[in-house]
């Protein structure tokens, strides 16, 4: 057990090292940083001066190890555009993204599992069929279309909810939360729904197909034969057994949520890290891009690690196989 954890930890470190190399390579591939730092009218001498100041003329390995050393201390340098430390910027933007991802994940999980179980049990009911076709449409709509459509309907036409931004922020220390005011909740609803729809349908379909399979297994038949109530069978025995793949998919999809938050945040002007990333791409603000990449990878690695450990706890077979 301990060796398994240690091995997984070692692998995670390796993954992060590879990602940091990719992040670092951004500095050398995406545009010329100097051009993005100085105004349009700067002279050649200025540019040379800045190159030297930033150490851009050092050998690449030297630059990489300097980058790695700094990154380990959470220091990704100064944003080219905003001229502020990147780690501070990310710290400021992080609550917005995490809260959005959290609400989306909750929506996706609750409605996804509920609908999945329902459609799994009532395989041929008309409402199940309706949900299923609805879920297919959900999968078939690109995120940005959903977002624009929701804005058009709920903000512009009906005027129920704000179209963009993050209103009603309450500060709890450095963490700015939307959860403590009605305005905060109002402004998180549309982006969270937009972001969750895709994951919701994924979870729904996964839970449904797992339910269908589980319902065919012998021990469910046996449970029926024992005369257990339908409710107990459905929720205690069947649902529990669908959870393993659901956990995997959640693990894999947290990264998906964060990645797609780039689009959602752009459409809704949600001031999170995704919006910051896309703004950074437009301005070739490499320090932010690199830091964001490392951040997403880190979240992913941690989630995966947790999922792996949960696996061991839930599914004894893996423990025995020892991987």
């Amino acid at each position: 057990m301990l060796s398994f954890i240690l091995r997984r930890l070692g692998q995670s470190v390796l993954v992060m090292a590879a990602v940091s190399l990719i992040s670092f390579s951004l500095f050398n591939f995406v545009g010329d940083p100097v051009n993005n730092m100085v105004g349009q009218e700067a002279t050649r001498e200025d540019r040379v001066f800045i190159r030297q100041e930033l150490g851009l003329d050092d050998p690449i390995p030297v630059q990489y190890f300097r980058f790695l050393g700094n990154a380990l201390q959470g220091d990704f340098g100064l944003s080219y555009r905003i001229k502020r430390p990147v780690n501070e910027l990310i710290k400021e933007r992080l609550p917005a993204t995490l809260e959005l991802v959290f609400v989306s994940a909750v929506i996706a999980l609750v409605f996804g599992i509920a609908a999945g179980v329902y459609t799994g049990i009532r395989r041929n009911g008309w409402f199940s069929k309706f949900i299923l076709s609805g879920s297919l449409v959900g999968v078939s709509l690109p995120t940005f279309i959903i977002g624009i459509g929701l804005i058009y309907l709920f903000a512009v036409t009906l005027r129920w909810l704000p179209s963009s931004g993050r209103a009603g922020i309450v500060e709890l220390g450095w963490w700015k939360t939307s959860f403590l005011s009605v305005d905060g909740w109002r402004s998180i609803i549309l982006p969270a729904i937009t972001l969750s729809l895709f994951q919701l349908t994924m979870i729904l379909r996964l839970v449904r197909s797992e339910m269908l399979e589980v319902m065919q297994t012998d021990y469910i038949k046996f449970a029926r034969a024992r005369g257990l109530s339908e409710r107990a069978i459905n929720f205690v025995h069947a649902l529990k057994n669908t959870l393993v793949p659901v956990i995997t998919i959640i693990g894999l999809n947290i990264g998906g949520l964060i990645a797609f938050s780039v689009i959602t945040e752009t459409v809704f002007q949600w001031p999170g890290t995704g919006l910051m990333f896309i703004q950074a791409v437009d301005f070739a603000d490499v320090p932010i891009m690199a830091a964001y990449l490392c951040f997403v990878a880190l979240v992913f690695v941690i989630v995966n690690l947790v999922v792996d450990l949960l696996y061991v706890l839930i599914d004894p077979r893996i423990r025995i196989a020892g991987r």
Binding site: M37, G39, A42, G77, Y152, S164, I169, V182, D183, L275
Partner: protein, 593 residues
């Protein structure tokens, strides 16, 4: 007690935010101590210790009463307090004019000397002031200087007396000398603009002399965005130079400001929210029509979202609504638009200097070096179609690369170049390119009104001439370096003229040495005139020379002028904002109902 509280008429004019704190239950860390003090100042009698009302000034408008509504459901204890809160919010909402506005991109920094970029200048211009400024009609207007006079290479400015910075410091000649020194620093983005100033002499506390390198008749025109900072504040906060690129920390001036202008900074979260409030001690109070008490700026990058925010009444003003949405805004209840011709001309540049184009199938020679090809390219553009379909009528087809309003733009010079495909084809034949050639057009996709769509339309028009144009539309941050580094064969550029004088255009775009002359245009006479007009003080003679140079340019056709841009603003009916041709929002002229 509560009734008394409400009746006490709460002088909450300056406040937008309320928070209710029940002792020990819900604390907003750090803030409440200060807030309680403020609250006591504003409300006649000190509050009991069971409920204290905290007030603070930043953050968004409606949080408080929604917050209260939210907690109301949870705990009855708050019920009483919320009644007060609601009374307070509604009371202050009536008396304060808050302008909530948006545009595509935030100011890059609040440091007034570190970025020479229009949106940054406009934002800083609300808080900082320069010696000379422009009104919404683009007339030069005294700001921190009351008057100025020119004698040879010396300009004397008489400074306004009794002006104070937001922090309370007195404004003196020292500050002007300091600010010029700062703007000439290595890391400043303004050093080119005030290059001609060689010395700044303090005559007395309120008189300053600027010595220029030779005669400079248009110096005041070059100073309109040369903002003045306080010397003491800058030194105390370690921002005596604009930017240190090697530094690991941001400089203080990036997110803080201390100007003399009509608005002072309340809070700043870059790319999120910037709040400013009217500066009580501003020298110009009462002299300008504006009645805005507070500005809330929130950038919205996505065009559709930006319009949606205006349509759903979340903002009162949009600086850059997409042209195609103007009708929709116009037709919406309670919204309106205004438009004005901008001092910015959109054009294509053709590199005629290289031996062989980098992206063409023509090898060994450069088709753009042939004046017949350049003329044919000019004739192939249907400027009226671009105006009507791409720009929704909001542009003026151009005959030159400088807009009306700039000295040198005349009706004759700016006469639209006719669309004549037959003649263009004939010219191509004469030049030996009857079958056309191929070339890549570099185009920004987030800089000018419909930039990418103009390029796309032009590609189709050039195709009819036989010129196969490949379009590369990329963000401005990647596009402009191509022009600066001379790696583009064929590119789109828009040029505004802050000085309203042709010299600015010649020195950057037409002089052989011009830093943005990627067309590599090189005409001896034009070069000569560019030099001459920099110091020619005889206005008639100068104007004649400028006209002569433009005539030469019209013959040589180094560029393909498309149109002069039109600016459109969208706003709520409650707002009356006079539009300005430099696209800068000047809140001192804005009134709200």
């Amino acid at each position: 007690m509560l009734r008394k509280l409400v009746n006490s008429g709460v002088k909450a004019k300056k406040l937008t935010e309320l928070c209710i704190e029940s002792t020990g239950k819900l604390t907003i860390p750090g803030k409440c101590v200060r807030m309680k003090q403020m609250a006591d100042d504003w409300i006649d009698r000190p509050l009991g210790n069971h409920i204290s009302v905290c007030l603070w000034v930043d953050s968004l408008k409606n949080t408080a009463d929604n917050f209260v509504r939210g907690s109301l459901m949870k705990n009855r204890k708050y019920l009483v307090a919320s009644a007060v809160a609601l009374a307070l919010t509604s009371g202050q909402a009536m008396s304060e004019n808050v302008l909530r506005w948006t545009s595509q991109g935030d100011a890059l920094t609040l440091d007034p000397h570190s970025q020479n970029e229009s949106p940054t200048i406009a934002m800083n211009g609300m808080m900082y002031e320069s010696l000379v400024t422009r009104d919404t009609e683009m007339n030069l207007l005294p700001e921190l200087a009351e008057s100025w006079a020119n004698d040879g290479n010396v300009w004397t400015f008489n400074l306004r007396k009794g002006v104070k910075f937001h922090g309370g410091e007195d404004f003196t000649a020292e500050d002007v000398a300091f600010s010029f020194e700062r703007a000439r620093h290595e890391a400043s983005d303004y050093k080119e603009q005030i290059k001609s100033v060689t010395e700044v002499k303090i005559v007395d506390d309120h008189t300053i002399e600027l010595v220029t390198d030779g005669v400079n008749p248009i110096l005041p025109n070059q100073l309109t965005s040369m903002f003045i900072m306080d010397k003491g504040w800058s030194e105390a906060n370690n921002v005596a130079s604009p930017q240190d690129f090697a530094a690991k920390e941001e400089t203080f001036a990036v997110r803080n400001s201390n100007g003399t202008g009509p608005f002072s900074l309340v809070s700043r979260a870059p790319d999120e929210l910037t709040v400013m409030q009217a500066h009580e001690g501003w020298w110009g109070k009462g002299q300008f029509p504006g009645n805005i008490d507070k500005l809330e700026y929130r950038p919205i990058g996505n065009a559709a979202t930006r319009v949606a925010a205006l349509l759903s009444d979340e903002v009162d003003f949009v600086l850059d609504p997409p042209l195609q949405d103007l009708k929709r805004i116009e037709n919406a209840d309670g919204l309106k638009t205004t438009t004005v011709p901008q001092v910015r001309t959109i054009f294509f540049g053709m590199d005629q200097g290289v031996e062989e184009l980098r992206t063409s199938d023509v090898k060994g020679k450069n088709p753009f070096a042939d004046i017949k090809v350049r003329e044919a390219m000019n004739l192939a553009i249907d400027r009226k179609a671009i105006q009507r379909v791409v720009m929704e009528g909001l542009s003026f087809p151009a005959g030159m690369i400088t807009s009306p309003g700039v000295l040198g733009n005349t009706e004759a010079q700016d006469a639209e170049i006719p669309f004549d495909l037959e003649k263009a084809k004939a010219l191509m034949g004469e030049a030996g390119y009857a079958d056309g050639f191929s070339v890549q057009l570099d185009c920004p996709n987030n800089r000018y009104n419909n930039d990418e769509k103009i390029c796309q339309a032009a590609v189709a028009m050039f195709a009819k001439l036989g010129v196969k144009v490949k379009l590369e539309a990329i963000p401005k941050s990647q596009h402009f370096p191509k022009i600066q580094n001379r790696t583009s064969d064929f590119y789109m550029l828009g040029w505004g003229v802050p000085t309203l004088d042709s010299h600015y255009v010649f020195s950057y775009l037409l002089d052989a040495e011009g830093s943005w002359n990627a067309a590599a245009y090189d005409n001896a006479r034009v070069n000569e005139i560019t030099k001459a007009i920099a110091s020619e003080t005889d206005l008639d003679k100068r104007t004649m020379m400028i006209d002569e140079a433009w005539t030469q340019v019209r013959t040589d056709m180094p560029y393909i002028p498309i149109h002069h841009q039109v600016i459109a603003w969208g706003m709520s009916d409650k707002v009356d904002a006079p539009i300005a041709s430099d696209d800068a929002l000047r809140p001192r002229y804005i009134t709200m109902k």
